[in-house]
């Protein structure tokens, strides 16, 4: 199964729980920038939830490489 390893969000109230480290950003560009940096560092895939939240997902255990 895939797992969320980090969350980048514009709005704090969109994210709850403590399953993964969450990064708050202020602007749309920062959202992209932070997600990009995290993607390269974590070897994960950035996905856009289309509500100002981006998640970095590790697909390695889901059969997807």
């Amino acid at each position: 199964m895939s797992s969320i390893i980090a969350i980048v969000t514009l709005q704090e109230n969109k994210v709850r729980g403590g399953g993964a480290p969450t990064f708050y950003v202020e602007k749309q560009e920062d959202l992209q920038h932070t997600a990009f940096t995290l993607e390269k560092i974590l070897d994960a895939t950035a996905h856009d939830l289309k509500n100002g939240v981006m998640i970095l997902v590790d697909h390695k255990n889901s059969g997807k490489h």
């Binding site: 070897d43 994960a44 856009d48 490489h65």
Partner: protein, 308 residues
């Protein structure tokens, strides 16, 4: 004196038959040992291994006939030792391919590996068969009948050389890669969510989409098989190259099904952006033996038809 002479001739007869058997066995192995774009078996050592094993297999097959005729049944049981040996060939191939696979940017997948390993084992049995038939005909009739049988066996092995290709089970057509915000589609089939704008642009620029439409109910199941899909992706990226590096999971090639009609969408970022070549490459991907199912042969479908 006469008896001695006949005996001597008989010995010669066997020798000729065994030599013919070995020659045709090895020829069969050589004919079946083609290294194509997949570069497997690898050259030169992979080939040397398989040619040597082919010589052993040919020897086994050729010698079995005189052993049988001389009522040396113990010798015939050595064929089972041979079979064990060739099962090991399958294990060896599976093991080494699985290890190599971990280092591939686009892996072959377990089903493809199993298919390749199975082929290596099966071909050695074809070699035994060719050598056996040649030797048998040479001994029971005359040396030239051995050659004729050998040629026939060679032709038979040609029939078994290649299985089906994708083109026989599916229609392959080019399809546009559509990036709608973070959503990626090939034609109308959803592939995945891409978060980064940077990657979205890259996909729009380099992405290539192909849709495979299954020809019937049976091919639908084969196309849906994950191993078959991985084989398509692997072969396609071997032919066209792949625009990706380690640690870039968002650039991974993917194949997704349309669950409603069983069509398969293939998405790839190739080095060579040529959809014509991509379509041709997919058409020639082998249909994996282990992925084939024939639901149409099931009794359940027959009763269904009768009920209609």
């Amino acid at each position: 004196m006469v008896a001695n002479f006949i005996n001597h001739l008989l010995q010669q007869h066997y020798t000729v038959a065994v030599i013919e058997g070995i020659i045709f066995g090895v020829l069969t192995r050589l004919q079946l040992l083609r290294t194509d774009y997949r570069q497997y078996p690898t050259y030169p050592h992979g080939k040397i291994i398989h040619i040597s094993l082919g010589v052993i297999a040919a020897g086994l097959g050729a010698i079995a006939v005189p052993a049988l005729l001389e009522k040396n049944y113990t010798a015939v049981t050595f064929l089972t030792v041979g079979a064990q040996q060739f099962r090991d060939v399958r294990n060896m191939e599976r093991e080494s391919l699985t290890r190599i696979d971990a280092m591939e940017l686009v892996p072959r997948g377990a089903t493809y590996i199993e298919g390749i390993a199975m082929v290596f084992e099966g071909r050695n049995y074809l070699v035994i068969f060719a050598a056996f038939v040649t030797s048998l005909f040479s001994i029971t009739f005359a040396w030239y009948w051995g050659i004729a049988a050998g040629i026939a066996a060679l032709c038979t092995s040609l029939v078994f050389r290649s299985g089906k290709n994708i083109v026989q089970i599916a229609e392959v057509t080019e399809a546009p890669v559509i990036v709608k915000g973070p959503d990626l589609y090939v034609g109308d089939i959803y592939i995945m969510n891409i978060g980064l704008e940077d990657t979205q642009k890259l996909v729009e620029k380099h992405g290539l989409g192909v849709i495979l439409t299954p020809r019937n109910e049976n091919s639908k199941v084969t196309l849906a098989n994950l191993g078959q899909r991985q084989a398509i992706l692997h072969d396609l990226s071997t032919v066209l190259g792949v625009y990706r590096d380690s640690g870039e999971p968002s650039l991974v090639p993917m194949a997704k099904l349309d669950l409603n009609d069983g069509r398969l969408a293939v998405f790839l970022l190739p080095q060579v952006h040529d959809s014509g070549k991509a379509v041709t490459a997919i058409k020639h991907v082998p249909v994996l033996e282990s992925a084939v199912r024939l639901p149409s042969e099931s009794a359940a479908h027959d009763t269904g038809k009768a009920g209609k």
